[in-house]
Amino acid sequence: MFKEFRTMTWYIKKHYYRYLLGIIAVLIVDGLQLFLPKILGWFADDVQNGTITFRLIREYALMIIGVALGMFIFRFFWRYFINGAARHLEFELRDMLVKHFLKLSPSFYNYKKTGDLMAHATNDIKSVRMAMGPAIVMSIDAFILSTATIVMMIYTVGWKLTVIALLPMPFLALVVTRFGKMIHNRFKKVQEAFSLLTDVTQENISGIRVVKSFAQEQREIARFHTVNKNKFDLNMNLTKVWGLFDPLVEFIAAISFLLVLAYGSILVLNNQISLGDFIAFYGYLAMMTWPMMAFGWVYNMLQRGSASLARINQLLAEVPAISDINSNNSSDSNANNNFDMNSNYSSDSLATNKHPSNTVASFFRGNNITFKNLSFSYVIGQQPVLKDINLVIPSGSTQAILGKTGSGKSSIVNLLIRQYNPPASSIFIGNNDLLTIPLAILSQGIGYVPQDSFLFSTSIYENIALGNKASTPEQIYEAARIADIHDNILELPNGYDTIVGERGVTLSGGQKQRISIARAIMRDPEIFIMDDSLSAVDIQTEERILAKLETFMEQRTTIIIAHRISTVQQADHIIYLDEGRIIEQGTHQQLLQLRGQYYQMYQQQQLEKELDGFLQKDVNPYEI
């Protein structure tokens, strides 16, 4: 269980002063705490012996205030230092985790649920925090306090009464540990029952159409009743144990007091100890209860923290699939990417330092993009999604890719922007194998408009600028004008400052697409890629955008993936994909003459146009 925590030593080393100061404060508090019962004991003896005076009373009262003040100050300190250290840990761990998330490639995310990853970044980190903060304090405090208290007890009343009074204490620790475990297990079951309840509810609501159409309401209510009842039963099952916990702990502690009352008072009567000793001892005993319970809690906290830490460690050990190959054996260092070496993680860059534009240009300018016998499958051993692709895209030309859904169009682009790794020597830019080009250069040189036009929930302005801090408003507006979205943006309530997404305005699919086109234009890329980026706009808008893009595209290599012939017919070269293969290629005219798939698609789309035209003429359908 403690093995996992070894990976945290770097953290303790880094923040040792917090822990050290905190522990010193704990020690001081414990020392002061031992004073209180003693003061009461002295007072009791003075009363008993008739030696009490007003002066002494004042002294005792002031002593109590003094001790309390000291405890107040140092209690604050240890809480602030040690819990503070733990909260810093939460911060640093989360930073590390997110940084790591950003390094991992899409293939990782294909098999991880976002919800799980979120849980690691929140719940797991929190339980590590509990283990590295409160658990540490509590264990030190409990240990010191209980030892010191026992020493004080023996010193005050001798070992005999101490032993008798402490007899029930081990039971207390045992109960806390055992019950802690049992409660934890049953609580887990309750949580499972709760998620089952959630699942059934969720399923019912998602499938409400089926429920309603088959008049299944009553049966659904019965089903809900089962899981609801189950939750109730398991909850009561938990209560059976959990409800016993507090009364039992109180009972065991009370037995100690009972023993002191029965045995200690007789010692007083027989003059073996003074009444003051008895009072002080009673106070010490009260102080023993807490550490005994703390041992149990600490154990449970550490256990949970350890499990969470194991999950986090595993996640951090995940090697990014895609990284710069030529950078100093990065895959090796990533494999050990554990906490130990992360003490200096802030200097461990995310490999996106901006390169001067001439360096970027040197990789692209005048260079053709070449695909050589490219075959690719997402999962090794599975049906390839691309087969034997051979294609040269001359620098500055416009390449169009057509094909049915699932024919591999997007895969070509995904490889080119290295969302996935292509096989070695299959894609070249100029003479450079794509794999050897630094990722930063690649992302700077390529302007990519993705299929789903994902926007960040920030202002439209920032969405277009996107990391390009040097951009001027005029540049942004110009990019937006080219993407035919400038006027639309100005019509929004806050213009360019309008926040998009969940907490802002909801944009239409077409608007989102055009903003993401503007965003790619803004990069002033060497290669411009549009992955089905005009699907949500109507034909007229598409024509307008294409016309505006013309000059922009002239100066750079452009790749357009599309479904509409109208989008691609001006392209210099068109390929038609089917099941991962290029089955037709050429210019628009050449492809039409082939009378193949491309021609069929063209025919169909012509009809569609006709249909639209037909409907515009047919203003009054009631005549039929």
């Binding site: 209180l36 009791a44 012996n49 008739g50 009490i52 007003f54 009373i57 109590i64 205030i65 309390a68 107040f72 100050i73 602030y80 939460e90 911060f91 930073d95 950003l102 390094k103 899409p106 976002t114 990853l117 970044a121 309840l197 509810t201 969720q202 399923e203 998602s206 409400i208 159409r209 309603k212 159409s213 088959f214 049966r219 209510i221 609801n228 939750k231 109730f232 009561m236 209560t239 507090d246 009364p247 109180e250 009972f251 009972l258 009352l261 029965a262 008072s265 009567l269 027989n270 009444l275 009072i279 490999a351 922007i417 930063a440 990519y448 993705p450 990391g467 969940e502 359908p621 039929i624």
Partner: protein, 696 residues
Amino acid sequence: MKYSVSQETGLGKPYDRKLMKRLLTFIRPYRTLFAITFILVMVIAAAQLVRPYLIKVAIDDHINGLYIPMIVVEDNDLHNTDINHLVSNQTDNIVTFTINDELLIRNSTLEPAPNIRQIVKANEQFLLINGIVESPTNPATVTEISANEYLVEGLHAIPLTTEQVEQIKAYDIKSLYKLAIIYLAIIIVAFIVGYIQIYLLQYLGQRIVYDIREQAFAHLQKMSLSYFDTNPVGRLVTRITNDTENINEMYSSVIISLFKDILIIVGIMGVLLYMDWRLAIVSFSTVPLMLFISFFYRRKARAAFRDLRVHLARINSNIQESLSGIKVIRAFGLQKDKFDEFSEINQAHLKANMRELFQFSLFRPSMDMVYALTLALLLWFGGGSVIKGAIQFGVLYAFIQYSEQFFRPIRDLAEKYNIMQSAMASAERLFELLDEPEQISDPAQPKSLAIPVQGFIKFNNVTFSYDQQHEVLKDVSFQINAGETIAIVGATGSGKTTILHLLSRFYDVQTGSIEIDGIDIRQLPKQQLRKLIGIVQQDVFLFTGDIKANIHLNNPDISEQQVIEIAKYVNAHEFIEKLPNKYHEPVTERGSTLSTGQRQLLAFARTLVHDPRILLLDEATSNIDTYTEKLIQDALPKLSKGRTTLIVAHRLSTIQNADRILVIHKGRLIEQGTHEELLQKQSYYYTLYKMQYQQS
């Protein structure tokens, strides 16, 4: 799951009389149990109150018992007892001792008088004095006048034999044992009653939550689809699951324990006032300070806590966004920008976290500080009273112990306040759901269809809009004869599926009407209507369970044999048999293990098992492999045989096999007729046909 800071985190009023009243109505079925719990709580409170008092009795009456002043009483019955033998008699709780032929009664509140005796301890010897001294364990002067006579502070004294002292002590020890037994009895009772009380309380809370959930869920089932359209799934799930859980806190942590706290506070106040009212006031003097700190902290902490939650929500949504936008982040090389952005938010969270920690770190120690202050005050004033002999030490000690018990519930008040607040907010949201009126309700006087139902359908000038803004269907009228099969065709979004929805009364039409066998469907009981209609939707929803259950939908009247027969009939049997567990193969929510076509076949079986009079079918548009496609095409006529059938059709064969075709465009019915008729017209359908089906 979206992590938003919006309404879900809202902190509302902590107390709302109307809400509270309504929450209390849920207790009604369990009022007896509730009353029992209250009584148990009283027992526990009493047990808690008695314990320090027992210690006081032990100290004042027995540990210090030897030195308690005694008064001489005349009682002839006891005169003849052995001089040296000490008799103790405990009738009516009055303890009497016979020492040297005098009958003595302990009484701690005696003023100096001629017939008063007290035992003092001097030079390891116990003396019985005529009168009382201030400090019996340490008298100021002791002078020996003769062999068995002393003067203690000027009072005449005679020594007690060891035997006599031992006998008195024996009495006190015996009494202490009795006290210990009472103490033991009390803690055993407290333990048992405590456990029962916690159990009952949890039972009540959980039971009420259970009831509320059942009620809320059942209510949800009555809501129309438009309610589900406008309320995200996540929100509704939260209402049923989390909000109800919050309300539980209200019952189990607030109502009862507040009662317990008040009981203890009042009880302690009573005991303290009874023991010594002046010292009691000293104890209470720090309460305002305590309350002030608690509520001051609560206010501060609430702000800090809310701040923290906002920051955490921002962290969560930032991570979530980065995870879902990872592709764009990578393509644009934004890793560093995104990390910096996150780090900034994380830093802000840390700051808020440390601020909250700072406040919290101050709060608890300051509470302990106030307690220590009370202790000092008690010592100061109480100690003075002890010196003056106004109170006994045990009383002061009891005060000290009670003070600790007294402050705990006061300290917890602030926490309860917070629980109350979140429970109230949850209750408000939940009641909102419960108060949502049923939009599509059964008619007051439902009509009944003549049996057997024919299945004649008529749409009269139906206009409908989902959002009251955009009309999806405009003035649509048509009729379908019993047993006829109709194909509805048109472009995506033209309103085809809506026709099916309206006919099943998922929504009510805005204008116009829909009739079955001449009766407006709004006049029919919903149950009857839905039993009449079978609908196969495009996106076939499968429930968690196995294949079999997804066909018979847990209807106990349908046997497994029937399920298999029908599966065979609609060509689903073959693929089911190929599954590892056949009919018992588990299915996941979205049925990802099954193909679209297979799911459609399952839906066919499901529908046919329920034998509807009218069949509504929304054909799947997505790609179905040719083999399954054939199976579906083969099953379709079997399905529609003898039923009025309405198909939103995408496949040519389906359309061609239909008796009639309705062509819908942009919410209007623009053409209808048989395939041939419509083709001859060379109008809209003709073009549509050429476009979509010519090549295939």
